[in-house]
Amino acid sequence: MTEAEKRLPPKREIVIIIAVLALLGLLAAAVGFSGGKAETARVLVDGQTVKLLSLSADCEYLYTGSEGAENLIVVKNGGVSVVSANCRDGLCVNQGAKSRAGQSIVCLPHKLIVQLEGDSSEVDAYAK
């Protein structure tokens, strides 16, 4: 073994160090640099997840619950909204389209929440 080979760490160790640094970089990017845009909308009914919707592509989901409860949830241009519902107050439709992580749309009569998830370090709650 030459002197140079003795001083340098073996290849395997270099690969591990690079892998760890790359992992750290990815983590930092995930935590630090995302702009609070939500990535998914979780639909919960009475605390149970009934559907996960990706916000990256436009789509529709019709929630049908007991006693004919219906909420039509639409993903469009990275935002999510309840466009129609047969609840008694219609407040879920009034809440409009949301696209930031941490926001939510609530339908009290149907015990339904559309929870936007993504970068959780952005804000902890919305006062409204």
Binding site: S81, S99, R100, I113, V123, A125, Y126, A127
Partner: protein
């Protein structure tokens, strides 16, 4: 050969361990949440961080007990003292009920009726979010005769309302309960907590790692936007606005915050008022009162409230921050209008 490998591997091992440290919760903090639709006509979410899972569980179940008790106590149509008063019963008030009534009536007087807990007959008449009735002038005039906190008799141990009158503590209840929860969680020695009673927020202490809580103020005109972010701990953020409970009829919007001078939803040029204060009860009272006052009078009122700030969302799409002097221990970062 062996010693050379060791020399290289030790720092490598240390590097891996340190890099994973933030991920493994080595500070022994467990964070747990609960959410429920069962109380206060809203969605309630509470998150606590505690030293162990059992501590967190017991803190959360203690919170739910408190919320349940106050839900029944304060429901305007329920079996608690408010509901019984509204059914024209004579009620023997507990010390706490008496103190709360006195305090709420004090806030009505201090805000010159901008907050008025006696407008329940008016709320029933309009039934915003229910029957959505636009009453005529006669109906409003007749109903206003049965409204006005100053028509209520002085609070006594045996208390009853004058015939036809009814009270609603809905404008102060969530704030009152949030303060009770924060007292309880403080005594239960949780490390931090976030109390969200349908958008009425209280942040206890600071997050794991010492960072402040960040609470966004919802934009009233852009459902996906925010107009400010509040950073801090031991602080409450409460919003009153036209954009949550309302109905539209004949091109006009009717919302749920009434002005006793007109008997109709307040038209103050504001879309929402957010109050930031150390007490959630105070923030709740003032968000309604300042909303009814409007920008000019509301800003003047806030300017003498120490530790209190207000974010106004105006009808022209802009937003304004007013601060009432020293104290508070929080920062409000404005993010422009819309």
């Amino acid at each position: 050969m062996t010693s050379r490998r060791l020399r290289i591997r030790l720092p490598l091992l240390a590097l891996i361990c340190f890099s994973l440290l933030p991920l493994c919760g080595c500070g022994r903090e467990i964070s747990k949440s609960v959410s429920t639709f069962d109380y206060l006509d809203t969605i309630i979410r509470i998150t606590v961080s505690a030293g162990s899972e059992s501590e967190a569980d017991s803190a959360l179940s203690g919170c739910l007990d408190i919320i349940r008790d106050y839900h029944f106590m304060l429901d305007a149509d329920g079996e608690g003292f408010v509901g019984r008063l509204n059914k024209s019963e004579t009620v023997s008030l507990s010390a706490e009920e008496k103190a709360l009534l006195l305090s709420a009536l004090g806030m009505c007087a201090e805000t010159d009726g901008a907050l008025d807990i006696s407008l329940y007959p008016l709320a029933r008449l309009w039934d915003i979010g229910g029957g959505n009735h636009v009453p005529d002038e006669d109906e409003i005039r007749e109903t206003l005769l049965r409204c006005g906190y100053e028509k209520l008799p002085p609070v006594t141990d045996e208390y009853a309302l004058p015939a036809g009158m009814a009270i609603d503590l809905g404008a102060v209840a969530k704030g009152y309960i949030a303060d009770k929860l924060s007292d309880y969680l403080n005594k239960a020695k949780v490390k931090s907590a976030l109390i969200d009673l349908g958008g009425n927020i209280y942040a206890l202490h600071e997050k794991t790692g010492g960072a402040p809580y960040r609470i966004a103020v919802q934009s009233p005109s852009d459902p996906s936007g925010r107009i400010a972010v509040v950073e801090g701990g031991d602080v409450s953020v409460v919003t009153s606005g036209t954009y949550q409970r309302y109905f539209d009829k004949d091109g006009r919007r009717y919302h749920h915050i009434f002005d006793r001078r007109t008997g109709a939803p307040a038209q103050s040029g504001l879309l929402s008022v957010t109050i930031i204060a150390p007490s959630s009860y105070l923030a709740d009272c003032l968000s309604t009162a300042v909303f009814v006052m409007g920008e000019e009078k509301g800003a003047e009122y806030i300017s003498v409230q120490s530790g209190v700030s207000a974010v106004f969302a105006l009808e022209d799409g802009s937003a304004a921050l007013y601060t009432g002097g020293e104290g508070g221990g929080y920062t409000v970062i404005m993010e422009g209008g819309k």
